[in-house]
Symmetry: C2
Subunit: 114 residues, 2 copies
DNA sequence: TTGCGATAGTTCCAAAACGAAACTTAGGAG
DNA sequence: CTCCTAAGTTTCGTTTTGGAACTATCGCAA
């Protein structure tokens, strides 16, 4: 079965994951909750490639989780903000954060992390 | 940046996602919470390929989230059960489920869902 | 004692997704 | 003009995924 076919699954967990259950999307949303909204900010913060970021942002906007907003009229520039639907993912991010804090300690960074 | 480099990220959300943030892993865990434990059960329930399932189970065991348990001595058979660490992911699954229930309605269930 | 079914994988290959880096588009500043 | 910023897009080689067949092991029945 393909991942994309999951959006009609009987299980609400599966349906949720069909949007946010890939390798970067939740990290973008984390950044949104941290107050970031611009393309270059997401790139810098998450370390993902522009390629993938652009694709994920498109999907999140289509899904109604982010809104693409013009923030400059001179050189037309756009950024991304959470919709209400998107904001309601906050509890999910928080539970993942709490679990990580408790169960995924940072492994000592290779000695030379000055 | 490669996904695998995320396990040492400063952000606990990112560290969590380095284990459960791919396409299928949380679905396996959902099944565990539903009481499933065997390879063939996961296959049938989630629709993922044996290939991927085997790989994900291995990672979950390494991460201490599932335990591989022998349940038959005749033909040696193994199944997978949540560790304490794994059980503590329950809140995360529940928040994802709740969000899905509210925001991801089933798009018309193929007419013949008797 | 050979063949069959159940269960947990492994292997193979083509297709899709990803990662890195260069390129594009458009206005502003010097 | 030419460079700079910012949001993408394109290209191309590598990795991951999906699908399907194959393997291994034991229990059971003929």
């Amino acid at each position: 079965m393909k991942w994309s076919e999951l959006s009609d699954n009987w299980c609400p967990v599966a349906r949720t994951l069909s949007i946010v259950g890939d390798r970067w999307t939740l990290l973008i949303l984390r950044d949104c909750f941290l107050g970031l909204s611009r393309f270059e900010q997401f790139i810098e913060s998450s370390g993902m490639t522009r390629h993938i970021l652009a694709e994920r942002l498109k999907r999140l906007v289509e899904a109604g989780i982010l809104e693409r907003r013009k923030y400059s009229d001179g050189p037309k520039r756009y950024d991304y903000v959470l919709t209400e639907k998107g904001q309601e993912l906050a509890p999910a991010l928080m539970t993942l954060r709490d679990w990580g804090k408790k169960h995924m300690p940072v492994r000592r960074a290779t000695s030379a992390d000055t």
